[in-house]
């Protein structure tokens, strides 16, 4: 399937070139985000009735993992409000053209941190406390506020969007899975970039800011680190940037060689399986251990959680790879073949999320009518009874997602195995076993 350039149409192109449509969405998102923080801190401690829990962990999560990531890649990052206040502060303006003199420290992020290990850690930190985070509005409010102010703080110390690129706990996996999305931002003609003077897409110009994600668009081959902020569309003097519709998982044909990304794949795969067991499974002991942060049971849970992600899953994967013969170093084979885990990882999350989103979606109606928990009934739905939705299609949809993910991963494994010239069978068997475990956990 060929690519279709969406920015060819003047409507989409102008909508992206102008700052105002995106700014309008940003401001709405920022207001919603601030409201979620305040609702979390001041509203009812009953999670299922608090706007922050219901809108962040049910509504936003559903949109993110079921729609935004699979279909729009980093589409969420394009409208995420977290970096905005920091970025406005960093630039000293909202719309005004690029100013060469830095307003703040404007340091470059140290090389040791220029990878996604910090994002792996920040995600795991949230994951280990997730049972409390997902149910306690005040903790959710605090975490949202910490992210907002953390992003502001980093913007004053480092150049560009250091928080998004290197620390955001969500950004890491969105980037990983955005490689599967049928949307991409790419240049149209390499030659144009090669001869372009000043590279305003990276360095900024009167038309806009240099890439906030610290990416040179001319070299983009994968979606992973392009935040779809659209600045390069505004700054490119040669109209050489396009948003394309493309086949799913196009980026996975060229597997990554980076260990931080490979481990991100294991973190996400393992977390989805552990969540399915802890949050949806019938094991009360597990739930208690995950919820009672700080107790001995929780420490055991945390150790097991980390062991599954960092030892058991990668260990078994390595054992599988060792069955194949190759002249390439193990590290390279490990990183490249782990690309095959991206589709099943995403589909594990889709299947898991379908379950709790459909189960809890009815809370959205009540929270809409009484977002502050003050007894309002704005839309007449404040007393809407809790009712799981679409229960009859849940299991078939989950099965479809998991089996589809397995086939998708098997195809990806074949391509990745081709790249490193080894057999794909161990990876496919690994994916099959993981899928069977997930099917057992969910169904």
């Amino acid at each position: 399937m060929a690519k279709i350039e969406l920015t060819r149409g003047p409507f989409i192109k102008n909508a992206l070139k102008s700052r105002y449509p995106q700014l309008a969405v940003f401001v709405i998102m920022l207001v919603g985000y601030i409201f979620a923080i305040l609702a979390g801190l001041t509203g009812t401690p009953v999670g299922s009735r608090n706007f922050s829990i219901v809108f962040v962990w049910i509504a936003w999560w559903a949109i993110l993992i079921l729609v935004a990531v699979p279909f729009f890649g980093r589409g969420w990052c394009a409208v995420c409000p977290i970096p905005l206040p920091g970025e406005w502060l960093q630039r000293g303006s909202v719309l005004a053209p690029h100013d060469k003199r830095p307003k703040w420290l404007n340091l470059r992020v140290p090389k040791i941190f220029r990878n996604i290990w910090l994002q792996n850690i920040s995600f795991l930190l949230l994951a280990l406390f997730s049972s409390v985070l997902l149910t306690s509005p005040n903790i959710t409010g605090i975490v949202l506020a910490v992210m907002l102010f953390g992003a502001i703080g980093l913007s004053t110390i480092f150049e560009r969007r250091a928080f998004c690129r290197y620390l955001c706990p969500v950004g890491g996996f969105i980037g990983l899975y955005s490689q599967t999305a049928p949307i991409e931002l790419r240049i149209k003609d390499k030659q144009v970039c090669a001869t372009c003077e000043g590279k305003p897409c990276y360095n900024g110009s009167q038309a806009g800011y240099g890439c906030p994600w610290d990416v040179f668009p001319g070299g983009l081959t994968r979606n992973t680190y392009c935040g779809l902020c659209m600045e390069c569309i505004r700054t490119c003097p040669h109209d050489n940037i396009a948003i394309n519709l493309r086949p799913f998982s196009a980026d996975l044909a060229k597997p990554s060689t980076r260990l931080d990304e490979a481990f991100k794949a294991f973190i996400m795969l393992g977390s989805a399986m552990i969540y399915a067991g802890v949050l949806l499974g019938p094991w009360g002991v597990l739930k208690d251990a995950a919820y009672n942060v700080g107790t001995n049971a929780w420490f055991i849970y945390a150790v097991i959680f980390l062991a599954i992600i960092f030892v058991i899953l990668p260990g078994l994967f390595t054992l599988g790879i060792l069955q194949t013969k190759s002249i390439l170093p193990l590290k390279r084979r490990f990183a490249s073949l782990a690309t095959a885990l991206i589709p099943i990882g995403l589909m594990f999350w889709v299947a898991f999320s379908l379950s709790f989103v459909l189960t809890n979606a009815s809370y959205i109606l009540a929270a809409l009518s009484d977002p502050m928990g003050l007894g309002w009934n704005l839309f007449g739905t404040a007393n809407a009874a809790w009712q799981p939705m679409l229960t009859s299609v849940l299991a078939p949809a989950q099965t479809l997602a998991l089996v589809g993910g397995l086939i998708w991963s098997a195809r990806t494994a074949q391509k990745a195995a081709n790249e490193v010239k080894v057999s794909s069978i161990p990876v496919i068997v690994y994916c099959l076993i993981a899928t069977l475990v997930m099917l057992w956990l969910l169904l």
Partner: protein, 325 residues
């Protein structure tokens, strides 16, 4: 600065100020009464104030589990207070005084302690001094042991007792009934020619004479709602919380501020004749009114009206006596 930049900044500032200010303003303007399990703080605020005759609008919400709300000694229906939802109640008080509001749902081990007060002030009429309850005027020590030295072998029957009582000079008055334990009444009958079993039957009749079916039904309802959680459906001291109370021991008591020295123990067993036949209605009234006795028994004086307590006492004796076929 270009106009578009200035305008954008103003709009963004307005949006942020609105996003922060509006919820905080609305939140501060809507005081809620929060209900939490006693261990986590009970009612907050737990002291409310209002003027006589002026409506008190309350917005109640639960921060954890299902609670209920009712006012002691007032004829107002209890309402449920659900987690995260808001229940609105409007109360108007005719008389000044300190009223107790309390939880009506078995929310947890210390449910009984989930109470607060409403101070109703009025310049026109002063609070009327309450008359001393019977156990005070009789000078009873409600903390002292009161076991009956002997008890009947079989359950005394008021029906049999009624047949025997016709020839006897019985004092069926409320004064006598309330101030005597069944055992004392049994002793008072010792100068008759009746057998011990027959004397107990007459005592059962005497007790039944001082109550009615309605009174027993009211007592039963109140007992089921308020007492059965600890004392058990059948009065055997084996309610759903009894095991927890025993297991919790001192640790349960010590979660309550000001109750450091309290000792939890198994709730009283009303099916035990030694215990109940040795207690007069006045003594039981004292125990219910004041609570305590070195146990986890709550005080009910602020919650039950006097008649309600007499109904309850009548019902408690029905665990000992056979009143009806």
């Amino acid at each position: 600065m270009k106009r578009s930049e200035l305008l954008s900044r103003i709009l963004i500032m307005l949006a942020i100020v609105g996003a922060v200010g509006t919820p905080l303003y609305v939140w501060s303007q809507t005081p809620l009464v929060h209900a939490q399990m006693s261990e986590n703080g009970g009612w907050n605020p737990d002291i409310l104030r209002v003027e006589v005759g002026k409506p008190l609008h309350l917005k109640l919400t639960s921060d954890d589990v299902m609670h209920g709300f009712a006012i002691g000694q007032m004829d107002v229906d209890a309402v449920d207070v659900e987690p995260g939802k808001v229940t609105q109640v409007t109360l108007t008080f005719d008389k000044p005084g300190i009223y107790t509001f309390y939880c009506t749902r078995w929310c947890g081990l210390n449910h009984w302690r989930m109470r607060g007060t409403i101070e109703v002030n009025g310049s026109n009429s002063e609070p009327q001094p309450a008359s001393a309850p019977l156990y005070v005027s009789l000078n009873l020590d409600i903390d002292a042991p009161h076991d009956a030295p002997s008890v009947p072998n079989d359950q005394p029957s008021a029906i049999r007792g009624q047949g025997l009582a016709t020839e006897l000079p019985l004092d069926l008055s409320a004064e006598y009934y309330r101030s005597h334990s069944p055992y004392q009444a049994f002793i008072d009958l010792s100068n008759t020619s009746l057998t011990e079993a027959q004397r107990w039957d007459v005592v059962a009749y005497l007790w039944r004479s001082n109550t009615t079916k309605e009174s027993l039904a009211n007592g039963r309802q109140r007992y089921t709602q308020n007492c059965a959680a600890c004392h058990g459906e059948n009065g055997a001291g084996d309610g759903v919380f009894a095991d927890d109370l025993k297991a919790a021991g001192d640790s349960s008591a010590q979660t309550m501020a000001g109750a450091q020295d309290m000792k939890m123990q198994t709730p009283a067993n009303f099916s035990n004749p030694t215990r109940i036949l040795g207690a007069s209605p006045a003594l039981l009234q004292g125990k219910i009114l004041r609570g305590g006795m070195g146990t986890g028994m709550p005080m009910w004086g602020a919650i039950f009206a006097e008649e309600q307590i007499w109904d309850l006492i009548a019902y408690i004796y029905s665990f000992q006596f056979e009143y009806h076929k």
